[in-house]
C-alpha cells in the first residue's frame, strides 16, 4: 500500500509492495512471476552477462563524466547512477525499429539505441544542443523541457498507426514508441495530455516513468497523492509498477507493453520504482533535502550488485568480471581523452540550421558578425 507521507519525507516503496513486479531480489535471488517470468526465462547466461555489461559500462561512463565535470571539463552533468537497470532493462526490450524519446538522464537508454555515449559530452560541454542523429538510431535527442516529449512520442506513435505498422503480426514491421520521463514530469500538463491522446487513439506508445523518488528537491509525494502508475489507469491506460532496480523485471514489463502496443492494443504506463543515488545534477546539493539514511537504504538495492550476485550464482567465472573491469578501465580512459579533444565550434555555428532554407534576417546577421570579427583580425595582424 502506498502511504502518502505528509511530512515530505519519502517512504521508499519496499519489497512488501504487492503490486510491485520483481523478478530479482536485492540479494540476487530470482522471483517467479506467472506472467512476467516467461519473458526473461530464455535469457541464457551470456545474455544476462550482456545486461550486466551494459549497466557496468554505462555506470563507468557516468562516473567518468561526473568527474570530468568536477575537473571543469563539462559545465554540468546529470548523473544516472542507480537508474541503470530501469534504463537498460527497458531499452533492451526495444527493437531497432522502435523509437525512443529520452529525457536528459538516459545514458542507459541511448546506449541501447547504439548512440555513442560520448555524444552527450558535447551537450554538457556547451558545444552542441543535440549530439547525435536521431534518425540513425531511432532515438530522439535529449529533451530538457520537462514532459514535452511525452506528446512527441505519442504523436510519433500515431504516425506509426497511420503507416500501418501496427497489428500486422509481422515482427519485422510492427513498431512502437517509448517515452522516458521522471516522477516530477507526471505533474506536467503535457504528460496528462499525452496520456489522453495516447488513450483515445490507442497509440502504440509506452510511457516509461522512472520514479527515482525526487524531482530535484521535491519528493514524489509533492507531485502526486496516488502511486504514479494509478495515473495511467485514470486515463484508461493499462499501468504497471515495476522494481526499477531489477533489470529483468524492467525488461519483462517493457517487452510486454511493447508487444501489446505493436499488436494494436494501445499504450501502457510503466512506473519503474528506482532511486537517483547521486545529485540531481552536479550543481545540486542533496544534503539540503534528503537524509543519509535514505540514501543508505537505497544503496542496498543497487541494481548492479544484485545482478552480480545472480551471475555468480549462475556460474559466471571471475574472468568475466575481471575482463569487464579492464574493459571499463579502458573505456574510462577513452572518455577522458575524447572529452579533451572536443573543441569549441566555429562562430558561424550560431547561425547554422535555424531554418532549413536560407532566411534573409539570418544571412544578414551572419554576414555582419563575420565582418565584424574579421575587423579584429585585421587590427591584430
Amino acid at each position: 500500500m502506498f502511504t502518502p507521507d505528509v511530512d515530505g519525507v519519502t517512504t521508499p516503496v519496499g519489497e512488501t509492495d504487492d503490486d510491485l513486479i520483481q523478478l530479482l531480489t536485492p540479494t540476487g535471488e530470482r522471483v517467479h512471476h506467472e506472467s512476467y517470468s516467461p519473458r526473461v526465462d530464455h535469457l541464457d547466461r551470456a545474455a544476462l552477462e550482456g545486461l550486466y555489461r551494459d549497466m557496468y559500462l554505462v555506470r563507468r561512463f557516468d562516473s567518468e563524466a561526473t568527474s570530468l565535470q568536477r575537473h571543469g571539463e563539462l559545465g554540468l552533468w546529470p548523473p544516472s547512477l542507480g537508474q541503470e537497470a530501469a534504463q537498460i532493462g527497458s531499452g533492451r526490450a526495444m527493437s531497432s525499429r522502435d523509437y525512443a524519446f529520452p529525457s536528459y538522464r538516459e545514458l542507459g537508454v541511448i546506449w541501447t539505441r547504439g548512440v555513442d555515449l560520448r555524444s552527450t559530452l558535447h551537450i554538457f560541454r556547451g558545444e552542441d544542443h543535440g549530439g547525435w542523429d536521431p534518425n540513425a538510431h531511432n532515438c530522439h535527442l535529449y529533451t530538457l523541457v520537462i514532459g514535452s516529449h511525452a506528446l512527441h512520442a505519442t504523436g510519433y506513435a500515431m504516425g506509426i498507426q497511420r503507416d500501418g505498422d501496427v497489428g500486422t503480426g509481422d515482427p519485422g514491421r510492427d513498431r512502437a514508441a517509448v517515452a522516458y520521463f521522471g516522477d516530477g514530469a507526471t505533474a506536467q500538463g503535457d504528460v496528462s495530455e499525452a496520456l489522453t491522446f495516447a488513450s483515445v487513439n490507442d497509440a502504440p506508445v509506452v510511457f516509461f516513468c522512472q520514479n527515482n523518488q525526487w524531482a530535484i528537491s521535491e519528493p514524489t509525494q509533492r507531485q502526486s497523492r496516488v502511486p504514479l502508475y494509478h495515473r495511467g489507469r485514470g486515463f484508461g491506460v493499462p499501468s504497471v509498477r515495476v522494481d526499477g532496480n531489477d533489470v529483468l523485471a524492467c525488461h519483462a514489463v517493457t517487452s510486454e507493453a511493447l508487444e501489446r502496443a505493436k499488436a494494436g492494443g494501445g499504450p501502457t504506463f510503466i512506473e519503474a520504482v528506482t532511486y537517483r543515488m547521486g545529485a540531481h545534477t552536479t550543481s545540486d546539493d542533496p544534503t539540503r533535502y534528503r537524509s543519509r539514511a535514505e540514501e543508505e537504504t537505497w544503496r542496498r538495492r543497487d541494481p548492479l550488485d544484485r545482478m552480480r550476485l545472480l551471475l555468480e550464482r549462475e556460474g559466471s567465472p571471475s574472468e568475466f568480471f575481471a575482463g569487464l573491469e579492464a574493459e571499463a578501465e579502458q573505456f574510462g580512459a577513452e572518455i577522458r581523452e575524447y572529452c579533451h579533444t572536443i573543441a569549441a565550434p566555429p562562430v558561424e555555428r550560431i547561425f547554422d540550421d535555424v531554418y532549413a532554407t536560407e532566411q534573409s534576417q539570418i544571412t544578414r546577421e551572419r554576414t555582419w558578425l563575420t565582418e565584424y570579427l574579421a575587423g579584429f583580425e585585421e587590427v591584430a595582424s
Partner: protein
C-alpha cells in the same frame, strides 16, 4: 534541470535586521525584499518548484519556508501552467502570490495562463477582478548553461497588454523593486538577471518602506541615470546595465562621455527619461541580450526617432542577440552584447 554552479548565496547579511545599509548580493537582496513583503502583508505567499527546503536552485528563497511555513512558501508540483493558473485563483481570493519560474526557458508551459488569463483579467472584468500576481523569472545568459537556461523572453510579455514587465540591475534596486512589484495591484513579470545574482553592492534597507508606497510606485517604475555623460546615451536594462557601465568606463579613457540609462521597466518604458538624455547627447545606443529583431530596442529606436528626430546626430543603433535560438555555451560570448560590440556601436554613432 537545475543547472550551473549555484553555490549557496552569501549567507552573511542578517535576515532579521530591519534597517541600515548592507553589502548584499543581488540574490540576497531579493531574498530580503521577499522577506520584508511577507512580514508586511500576511496575504503575500510564494510558490514554485524547489523553493522550500532547497531555497530555489539559485537560493533566492533560502530560509523563507523555515520562517514562514509551507502554506506561505509552497513547493509546487512540477507544472508551470499549474503554478500560474492557481496563483491567479489565489489572487482572486485575495492573496498576493509570488511565483518563481525556475529558468526563463521553462516559462512557456505557463505562457497561456499568463497571456490569455492573467494579463486580461482586469480588463475583461472591467476592473472588478484584480490579480496582483508577481512572476519571478531568472533570465539571461553568460553563465555557461545548457539549452533553455539563458533566454531573454521579456519582449514576448511586454508585447502583451495588461502585464507590467520590470527588471532590476543592482542589488539596491532588486530589494526595492521586488517589494514594489508585490505591492502593485497589476500582474508583474519580474525578470531577474541571473548572471548578476552574485554581484554585490550596498543596499539601503531603510529606504524601501517609503519607496514601496512612494510616488510613482508601485505601478510605474521609472528609468534612472546610472551614470551621467554628454556624448552618447546607452539605454540598457537588467544584465546589460553592467555591460553598459563597463563600456562607459572604457570609453571615458578614450575621451567619449557616455550616459547610461537603466530602464528598469520594459512595460511601460520610460521614454521620457530616454528622450531627455538623447536631447542632451544627440546619440542613442540600446543594449539588451534578447534578439534585436522585434525586441524592446526596436520599440525604443522607433519612438526616439519619432520624438527626438531633430536632436539626433546619428541613427539609433541596437546591440543585442541575433535572430537565432540562444546558442551553445561555448558560443555565448560571441552571441551576447559584450563590451566590444557595445563600444563598436558607440564608435559608429560617434562617427556621424
Amino acid at each position: 534541470m537545475s543547472e550551473r554552479a549555484v553555490s549557496d548565496q552569501d549567507r552573511q547579511g542578517d535576515q532579521g535586521q530591519q534597517g541600515g545599509t548592507q553589502r548584499l548580493t543581488l540574490g540576497k537582496a531579493i531574498n530580503l525584499g521577499l522577506r520584508r513583503a511577507m512580514e508586511r502583508d500576511p496575504k503575500v505567499m510564494l510558490m514554485g518548484e524547489d523553493i522550500g527546503p532547497l531555497g530555489g536552485v539559485f537560493r533566492v528563497t533560502d530560509g523563507l519556508q523555515k520562517d514562514f511555513g509551507s502554506d506561505r512558501v509552497v513547493d509546487t508540483p512540477l507544472a508551470e501552467s499549474g503554478i500560474v493558473g492557481t496563483a491567479i485563483g489565489l489572487a482572486l481570493a485575495g492573496y498576493r502570490p509570488v511565483c518563481e519560474i525556475q529558468f526563463d526557458g521553462f516559462i512557456f508551459p505557463a505562457y497561456d495562463q499568463i497571456t490569455t488569463q492573467l494579463a486580461k483579467m482586469h480588463y475583461r472584468s472591467r476592473g472588478k477582478s484584480q490579480v496582483p500576481v508577481v512572476i519571478r523569472v531568472p533570465y539571461g545568459g553568460g553563465i555557461g548553461a545548457v539549452e533553455h537556461h539563458s533566454e531573454s523572453p521579456e519582449a514576448l510579455f511586454a508585447h502583451t497588454a495588461g502585464l507590467r514587465v520590470i527588471t532590476p540591475a543592482t542589488p539596491a534596486d532588486a530589494f526595492v523593486m521586488i517589494q514594489q512589484a508585490i505591492a502593485c495591484p497589476d500582474p508583474v513579470m519580474f525578470f531577474e538577471p541571473k548572471a548578476r545574482y552574485w554581484d554585490k553592492a550596498e543596499v539601503d534597507l531603510t529606504a524601501a518602506d517609503e519607496l514601496v508606497g512612494g510616488p510613482g510606485a508601485p505601478g510605474d517604475v521609472r528609468a534612472t541615470v546610472a551614470r551621467p555623460g554628454t556624448d552618447v546615451t546607452l539605454a540598457a536594462y537588467g544584465p546589460s546595465v553592467t555591460t553598459a557601465l563597463r563600456a562607459a568606463a572604457a570609453a571615458e579613457s578614450e575621451g567619449t562621455s557616455i550616459e547610461v540609462i537603466d530602464l528598469r521597466s520594459i512595460s511601460p518604458i520610460d521614454f521620457a527619461a530616454v528622450a531627455d538624455s538623447v536631447r542632451r547627447t544627440g546619440r542613442l545606443v540600446v543594449v539588451h541580450e534578447a534578439a534585436t529583431f522585434l525586441g524592446a530596442g526596436a520599440e525604443i529606436a522607433a519612438r526616439i526617432s519619432e520624438e527626438c528626430f531633430y536632436h539626433l546626430e546619428a541613427p539609433v543603433l541596437r546591440v543585442g542577440g541575433f535572430h537565432t535560438p540562444y546558442p551553445v555555451a561555448k558560443l555565448e560570448e560571441e552571441y551576447l552584447p559584450n563590451l566590444d560590440r557595445v563600444l563598436h556601436a558607440v564608435d559608429t554613432v560617434m562617427q556621424h
